[in-house]
Symmetry: C2
Subunit: 130 residues, 2 copies
């Protein structure tokens, strides 16, 4: 299987996601890395981080893709399957997307549906903007 390498671009992006404490939009990441690495590299690094289970992706209703380090990952050393069934909140005012790790919706799929992943995105006003 493919070996995983630790490169400056990867470190930088991971750091940014760590520091942010919220989900960053692709364009935010592009901006943050401008001068650091190429635009294409950002796409590729994020793709890799997804596969490695370091980050997860969530899409807001307006179609903007966000990436976040799932805080639940911090405890374990990874390459395990982890679920991201928590809610993501998209503030319509400030635009911030936050992982609400503790908010796990309850629902029941009809018989014979097999659940793998979820993307729960809710939008409205965050505490700061209300």
């Amino acid at each position: 299987m493919a070996q995983i390498r630790n490169t400056p671009s990867k470190r930088f992006i991971q750091q940014a996601l760590n520091d942010a404490g919220r989900a960053l939009s692709l364009s935010e990441i592009q901006e943050a890395t401008s001068g650091i690495c190429d635009r294409v590299t950002v796409y590729r690094v994020l793709e890799r981080l997804l596969n490695e289970g370091e980050v997860h992706r969530t899409v807001s209703l307006d179609g903007v893709v966000h990436y976040a380090k799932c805080s639940a990952c911090e405890t374990n050393g990874h390459t395990h399957v982890h679920d991201h069934h928590h809610v993501h909140f998209h503030c319509e005012s400030c635009g911030d997307v936050t992982c609400l790790e503790s908010v796990i919706p309850e629902f029941k799929l009809p018989r014979k549906y097999e659940l793998h992943e979820t993307n729960f995105m809710v939008s409205g006003l965050c505490p700061g903007c209300r």
Copy 2:
């Protein structure tokens, strides 16, 4: 206020969404309408249908935008605010996106978050593909 017109393009797209009985991706709609109307018109018609409350939009985790006629709308004559808090199922095998109208997740946001819209997308295997 602006008057609403019933045009062939609009009728066609609405019909397609009706007949499908599931959410159609933008590209599916583009294909279906190829020869019928221009690419730009599709964007504009869908935009209008959204505003008129005839359809709703949902985005799958892979970022693909889908449009669906919400079956709950059929009873009423519209221009009411309606919520689409139901779950959408995205089959990883056949790619179909379906509105699960009856599946409304239960969850509780932390204090001071104000909820407006939701986009609940879950993926896995649909009954047909399991």
